[in-house]
Each structure stands twice: as structure tokens, then as C-alpha cells.
């Protein structure tokens, strides 16, 4: 198992992912610079958080045209598992690998705090270790995380089971008070129709060991480690 961690100019969470892969999971990994044109040799790809290309124009808008993205799109279309967190989620939306868009938080504030998530789809390569409805505690750190989709798209996402995580209260209620950014229907994470591309605003890599106050990000990595193996 070898995990590719993408790095764009302005990416900032790649070292946190590298630390989890190396020191917590002990799995093979490598950085993939955005100028690369191939992702050959990797079984799974991660797009970390940050401000790729300064988030100029729109979050993820310029990153989508980095040379590596053509290889990422080919990898995803072939069914390869791809995880985008925070800015990585925004890039996957801009690249058309995930539907919808992420807008400025309704509070206009940059929100950096713990949230609770309810697992809605446990059939993706990153959530197979979870129970349906399981509550996970993870941090968020973003100014533009308000998930938006047209009413038609939102209905399709619900019908297809493409909503992976919703912001919830600690006891699992989907309430406005638990929504940190004004996301439609408290959506925190979604997946592609094929289930292999997953994006979420929270940071599982910052909640994967007890020292950090939560290990609830860990099951996503455990699921990922088995994603490349036949089920």
C-alpha cells in the first residue's frame, strides 16, 4: 500500500498527513508535487488542506489546472480511492470529481474548532470501518466550507447516498446549532457516484492519535489501508 499526498504551492496540511501515514500507521507514502504528470505506483491519493495557489479567483479554481490533476482525474475515473480534506475537497469540486461547490461561511468568520460528524454513508473506501450513524469528533479550520448544490443536485445526492458526513450534535442530532458554516442540510462530506472519491471539510489527519484529543479520524485511514485490497 502506497499513499500519494499531493502538494500544491500553498498546501499546508501535507505534513500532518505524512506524520499520520509514517508514524501512526507505518504505511508507505510519498509526496506528489503538483507539476508531476503521473501518479503511477500509488494505490490511494490524498489532497490535503491549505490554500493551493493562494486560493486566488476561487478556492481550488487554479489548482484544478495543475499538471498533476489530469493524472488524478484518470486515477479517479479508473476507480482509484481519492480523499480530499478541506482545500482538497474544494479542489475536487472545482475539478468536477465531486458535485457542488464550497462557499464562504455564512458567519463570515474563519472557523477553527472541534465539530461532531454523523456518518451517513459507510460504503466508501474511507468509511467502511464505521457504523451507520456513528459520531466522530474532528477539527475544522476553514473560512469557505459552506457546501452548496442546486435543489435538483441535492435531491440526487440524497437519493444516491452520496452524502457521507453531516455536522451533528454530540448525540447525533442534525441541528442548525451544530452547523459551523451554513452548509446545506449540514453537509460536511460527500462522495462521487462511484463512491471512490470522498471529500470532507474536517481534518481527519488532525484527529488520529490520543495526544491530539481525538482518535476519530483514525478509522478513515484504517479503511483506506484496506481499500486497495479485494474485499
Amino acid at each position: 500500500m502506497k499513499v500519494g499526498v499531493l502538494v500544491f504551492p500553498g498546501t499546508w496540511s501535507h505534513q500532518d498527513f505524512a506524520h499520520v501515514l509514517e508514524d501512526v500507521l507505518g504505511t508507505g507514502w510519498g509526496y506528489v508535487w503538483h507539476k508531476e504528470t503521473s501518479v503511477a505506483g500509488y494505490d490511494c491519493l490524498i489532497l490535503p488542506g491549505g490554500f493551493a495557489h493562494g486560493d486566488y479567483l476561487r478556492c481550488g479554481a487554479i489548482a484544478r489546472f495543475s499538471p498533476v490533476m489530469e493524472a488524478v482525474i484518470r486515477f479517479a475515473k479508473a476507480g482509484g480511492p481519492v480523499l480530499g480534506s478541506c482545500n482538497g475537497f474544494q479542489i475536487l469540486c472545482e475539478a468536477g470529481l465531486l458535485p457542488g461547490a464550497l462557499l464562504r461561511n455564512d458567519s463570515l468568520q474563519y472557523r477553527c474548532r472541534w465539530v461532531h460528524l454523523r456518518a451517513e454513508n459507510v460504503e466508501t473506501p474511507f468509511t467502511r470501518t464505521l457504523r451507520p450513524g456513528q459520531i466522530l469528533k474532528m477539527p475544522i479550520s476553514h473560512g469557505e466550507g459552506r457546501y452548496f448544490a442546486s435543489p435538483e443536485l441535492l435531491a440526487a445526492l440524497n437519493a444516491n447516498g452520496q452524502i457521507v458526513f453531516r455536522y451533528a450534535t454530540p448525540d447525533g442530532q442534525i441541528a442548525a446549532a451544530a452547523n459551523p458554516n451554513g452548509a446545506l442540510e449540514n453537509i460536511a462530506g460527500i462522495c462521487s457516484e462511484g463512491r471512490n472519491v470522498v471529500g470532507l471539510m474536517p481534518h481527519p489527519e488532525r484527529a488520529a492519535e490520543p495526544l491530539l484529543g481525538s482518535e476519530d479520524g483514525r478509522p478513515l485511514f484504517d479503511a483506506m489501508l484496506h481499500a486497495a485490497l479485494p474485499r
Partner: protein, 84 residues
């Protein structure tokens, strides 16, 4: 030379909290007639092009592919001939 002046704004159906905040700021200054405020982006491009029709087609394509995100935004632009 042709100059394209492009406005990109959030669609009407998309909440614009920044615009709402500016509207309430104007209201607190006494500008109570402001019913709505939307904030967007304004871009000026200069093209090495002489044919206005061709420039219009190119700018349309630029807007669709990069300058606006059709999921959340809409755009309008004007094409003007300017001295190089």
C-alpha cells in the same frame, strides 16, 4: 486591441453573507433605501484580438471554464475596442 470587462456574481439563489453584511452596514449609516447588496468580482482583460465577435466567443469560453463557477456564479461582460 480589445478589452473585456467581466462581472462575476453569485447566483440569486445563493446566499451572499458578505453582501448582506455590507447592506446592514449601509443601513446603520442611514442608507435605509438599500434593499439588497450583492458582492462579486470585476475583471478587466486585454486581448490581442481585432475581431469583436471572436473576442466575445473566447471570453464566453474563459468564463465558463475558469473565471466563473457555473454551480454558484453567473457572469456578464462587455467587449470594447481600445487603443493598444
Amino acid at each position: 486591441m480589445i478589452e473585456a470587462r467581466i462581472h462575476v456574481t453569485l447566483k440569486k439563489s445563493v446566499l451572499d453573507p458578505q453582501g448582506d453584511t455590507v447592506r446592514s452596514g449601509l443601513a446603520s449609516l442611514g442608507f435605509s433605501t438599500v434593499h439588497d447588496c450583492r458582492i462579486g468580482k470585476f475583471m478587466v482583460l486585454r486581448l490581442n484580438e481585432t475581431d469583436a465577435k471572436a473576442a466575445e466567443a473566447t471570453v464566453n469560453e474563459m468564463c465558463r471554464k475558469l473565471l466563473a463557477n457555473p454551480v454558484i456564479e453567473e457572469y456578464v461582460f462587455q467587449i470594447n475596442e481600445v487603443a493598444g
